[in-house]
Amino acid sequence: MLPTRFLAPCLAAVLLAACAAPVPRHGVPIEPALPRPSFTLTDTRGVPFEFSRETRGLLTFLFFGYTNCPDVCPVHVANVAAVLRKLPFEDQRKARFVFVTADPARDSLPQLRKWLDQFDTSFIGLRGDEVEVTRVMSAVGMPPAIRGAVGPDGRYEVGHSAAVLVFTADDSAHVLYPFGTRQLDWAEDIPRLLRIRPQTED
């Protein structure tokens, strides 16, 4: 039999673990947590979208990319979309995916909408001029997008951060998910991220 002097700390540890905020198993932790930024860009309806106000308290995936991206952007967005579709409807309602174009020169609002619709019609597309987008990227600690060399066909690639920032209900980002995050990783982490609550609720 365990002595009572060992039982008490063990019990306390179990209780603490049960009460502690759920920790995501994948992605890269952000310490200290990044507060939800305030910025306003134009959404695909042509209406100003106040990020902080529109997404407050919701699980929010923030990703910078561009619709001509040949590999990383469509794969990353498709993987999140595939997992969000499998969530219970109530959890889906608590989640928002926000895509900010890093290539405003080519990504018109209709182009952005058409591209996002192939993944999920509820995904939000935002556009601003290059200065605005760079300011937003800087506010969340992302490097600015860099336009690559223009090819003979007039096409070019855009170098940009391939990480998805996830803001939880406590209006903070505790983790970011680089390219390479698998659907199974998202499926494990999204329910955990949904359980992170503002501290005042505890």
Partner: protein
């Protein structure tokens, strides 16, 4: 230039790519088959079996070279499944059928290596070897680790072809002849030895998430998602594999029930 198809992570392009390693391997296979099948024809092997063998050489070439080869290596699990079906289940029986007489004679003429040949072609050992290869080369961690390298992708392709030859040898070549390995036992052997690959296909069909990172994170294929592709891969393995296996079991059954068992068996193979 790449010598063998491997996952590059680059967006897919329809511009043809050249893989000298594939051409070399197919050339070696074709030369070996030509030499053996000529001897086979001289020993009475049918014209149908001879041409069937050349069809197998052509199929091996098609699934390893552009476009199926690179698609299978880094873009589509379904193309990879097609490779498996061709390399392990379709080409080996056709190749062995056209060359079984000279192969049987070769085994009889082997010196010390005959003991190894007898062991590897022992039906239980052959079945186990094939299934070890089938399982090991479908483990997600193994596939994700091997497919980005040319050596790794080459290893998987060669293992499938060799595993298929080992699986089909006891049925097609019947050398060394084993008295207990009658037609009903051969049918049972083929059924049991291919159950595991059916199980792998079922897993691919029922999983809710993509199993292989190499295909999930590959530049997107416009026609279908990675999960749909995985389900298609499971279907290809399940249906095409079953069609081949049950087709051959059916032929074996009717030959056996018609009393033609052993008619086309290689001459005078040694008993174990």
């Amino acid at each position: 230039m790449q010598w063998w198809c491997s996952a590059s992570g680059k967006p897919w392009t329809w511009a043809p790519q050249y893989y000298p390693g594939v051409w070399l391997m197919v050339a070696v296979l074709a030369v070996a088959f030509h030499a053996l099948s000529r001897r086979g024809r001289a020993m009475g092997e049918s014209r149908g079996a001879f041409w069937g063998g050349w069809v197998a050489v052509g199929l091996v070439w098609q699934v390893l070279d552009w476009p199926i080869g690179p698609l299978a290596a880094g873009y589509l699990a379904s193309a990879h499944a097609l490779q498996f079906v061709v390399l392990a289940l379709v080409a080996p029986p056709l190749l062995l059928l056209a060359t079984r007489r000279p192969l049987a004679a070769s085994v009889a003429a082997l010196g010390r290596a005959r003991a190894v040949a007898m062991l590897v072609t022992q039906p239980i050992i052959a079945g186990v070897l094939f299934n070890v290869v089938a399982i090991a080369t479908h483990v997600p961690a193994v596939v994700d680790a091997l497919m980005p390298t040319q050596v790794g992708a080459f290893t998987i392709d060669v293992l499938w072809l060799l595993g298929g030859l080992v699986l089909w040898w006891p049925i097609m070549v019947e050398a060394p002849r084993r008295s207990w390995f009658s037609a009903p036992v051969r049918m049972l052997y083929l059924f049991l030895a291919t159950l595991v690959h059916t199980g792998i296909a079922m897993v691919m069909l029922v999983r809710d998430f993509p199993m292989y990172g190499i295909y999930e994170l590959a530049p997107p294929w416009p026609a279908w998602s990675p999960l749909e592709d995985q389900h298609l891969a499971g279907g290809v393995m399940e249906l095409a594999g079953a069609a081949v296996v049950f087709g051959i079991i059916t032929v074996m059954f009717f030959r056996w029930s018609g009393g033609v068992e052993g008619d086309a068996a290689p001459p005078a193979p040694p008993r174990d």
